[in-house]
């Protein structure tokens, strides 16, 4: 979702701008090592494709709005994290400057939410998930489904955080609106996950060598630890956002769950889920670190199961399609 100007305060915009500028700058730096002569045509074309592909309508049952591709994980899986981040950056810049879709000041926040989280974060989750699902094509697709869903949720969660930081000191209760936002993006994320997975499956069937363009996940320990940390952080974000509506709407339910599963450290005042001033994003002081990481792990496991289920379902549809075609 593109944030227009005015939604976030200028200070938050500047902060996000600094973060995303560093991230994009780092991507460019890493691109310089890896054969920059291919970057310009490949990344530019991918950016054009994502831009054009984002306008394709996927109708939703019974609703006047339709679903659309975002494309972060798609870019990252084909181009790798650095060029993928650059491609998404270009799409957002063009949309901001030429289409006035997304504000100029808010460009930093949009880049952070969509280029960095979707492409970088999506890639991290994808590589981690790929090692769980297996290196074969089906595993790649399932991993991409998981990565797409989680990255959409993570960018929604990040947006909620940015929004909360933009309007300090008001009496406004944000939890309900955030709950709605996150639920909405959970649904949007499903659409993104399905589209990304299907497109990737198509490309694997016709031009598998295109997918291999992404630099193979480096086996070095610092790199894989780095990816796991990023993936884990995003998972924690997602889980925290997921639990937010429960925290605000159904406090009793959460307490019951807490007592049954032994999450005794969970805080008792759900209204203050997003505190006014916290030291680290997503980690309010009342929560113990243990419960947060466990919640994150729970979220990751749930999503992995979902994604595995998708992969299985597609395998069966591919199987039945082949059987009916008589191939």
């Amino acid at each position: 979702m593109h944030i227009p100007d005015g939604v976030l305060s200028p200070e938050v915009c500047v902060g996000c701008g600094v973060l995303s500028a560093s991230a994009v700058g780092y991507s460019l730096y890493r691109l310089r090592d890896s054969l920059a002569d291919r970057t310009v045509p490949l990344t530019g074309m991918m950016a054009s494709l994502v831009f054009a592909g984002q306008m394709i309508n996927f109708p939703l049952p019974g609703m006047p709005v339709s679903g659309h591709l975002i494309g972060g994980v798609l870019c990252a899986s084909i181009l790798g994290p650095w060029a993928g981040c650059l491609a998404m950056t270009l799409v957002l810049v063009v949309q901001c400057i030429l289409y006035a879709d997304g504000g100029l000041l808010a460009l930093g926040a949009n880049l952070l939410n969509m280029a960095v989280v979707n492409a970088w974060g999506g890639y991290a989750i994808w590589t981690v998930a790929r090692s769980l699902f297996g290196k074969h094509p089906r595993g790649m697709v399932s991993a991409a489904v998981a990565a797409a869903w989680m990255s959409v949720m993570a960018s929604a969660a990040l947006f909620c955080l940015e929004f909360r930081l933009s309007w300090p000191g008001t009496e406004f209760d944000f939890s309900r609106i955030f709950g709605l936002m996150v639920l909405l993006h959970a649904l949007i994320g499903i659409g993104e996950a399905l589209i990304t997975g299907s497109v990737l499956r198509f490309v694997l069937a016709h031009r598998a060598d295109l997918i291999q363009m992404a630099p193979q996940a480096s086996a070095s320990i610092p790199a894989s630890v780095g990816r796991f940390v990023v993936a884990g952080t995003m998972a924690a974000f997602v889980a925290a956002a997921f639990l937010s509506p429960f925290a605000s709407e159904w406090p009793d339910g959460l307490e019951a769950v807490a007592e049954r599963t032994g999450f005794n450290e969970l805080q008792r005042t759900p209204q203050a889920f997003f505190l006014d001033d916290y030291a680290l994003p997503g980690l309010p002081e009342q929560w113990s670190p243990l419960s947060v990481s466990l919640a994150g792990l729970l979220g990751v496991i749930v999503v992995m199961f979902l994604a595995w289920g998708f992969g299985k379902a597609w395998k069966m549809t591919m199987y039945s399609a082949k059987a009916t075609d008589g191939r």
Partner: protein
């Protein structure tokens, strides 16, 4: 999609078009910054800025119908976003936030629209590079801009071809399947084309170093020259 979809009026001749691009960028940024920093209690400031921007639009020769059409596409989303705040929890704080978002959002949007319609994209890219955007980003951006319309037209043709072979209303499942196939085909074709283009670039000596052509190093800015040449026609 026509090649002038966004900057339809960017090749006109007016006072606004003749201003140096750097100045136009600075003006845009200033208006947006002022609008975002000034609190909504001082709404006359926002109204004044908005009227200045609208004046700039008419000065640049941008038709009102076009402005209204673009605003009509933009406003619904902004309204949903801003009105959801007071509607979900009522109270004065909610309305205050909603009005802030609406005012600032509309101001920023119309200002950007003005900037885009008084500057051609290639001049804008050159100016961005001059003010610090990395060379590879500008080169890839130029590449993207160049091929965007091609990919867009190809997508349109594929959608038309799909429609021509659809009899009756397709189900949602069919739409999703054909939509992803469309994106997949477009992706494969576009990246195959990108490979050919890479070959063409290598054939003309490309080795990864980005060079930018600066034909008018000593002459007046190209936007002025363009305005002058369009007058001559």
């Amino acid at each position: 999609m026509a090649g002038n979809f966004w900057d339809r009026y960017a090749r006109e001749a007016s006072v606004c078009h003749r201003l140096p691009t750097g100045l136009k960028l600075a003006l845009t940024l200033t208006v947006i910054l002022v609008g975002c920093f000034v609190p909504v209690e001082h709404w006359p400031v926002h109204v004044m800025l908005l009227s200045v921007v609208f004046a700039g639009q008419s000065l640049a020769g941008i038709p009102l119908a076009y402005l209204v059409r673009r605003l009509a596409l933009f406003l619904p989303m902004l309204l949903i976003l801003s009105l959801s705040l007071p509607l979900s929890h009522g109270g004065e704080a909610g309305w205050r936030m909603a009005s802030t978002i609406l005012l600032r959002g509309v101001l920023a949007f119309t200002t950007m629209l003005w900037l885009v319609n008084v500057t051609t994209t290639d001049v804008l890219l050159v100016t961005l590079r001059r003010y610090g955007m990395p060379g590879i980003v500008v080169a890839t951006l130029a590449f993207m801009y160049r091929y965007l319309f091609l990919v867009w037209d190809e997508r349109d043709r594929m959608i038309q071809a799909r429609q021509a072979r659809t009899f009756g209303k397709p189900t949602i499942d069919q739409r999703w399947k054909s939509g992803t196939q469309l994106i997949g085909m477009l992706l494969v074709r576009s990246l195959t084309r990108a490979e050919r283009i890479y070959g063409a670039m290598c054939a003309r000596g490309w080795n990864g170093t980005v060079h930018h052509w600066e034909p008018d190093a000593d002459s007046p800015p190209s936007s002025e020259r363009k305005a002058g040449s369009s007058d001559a026609r």
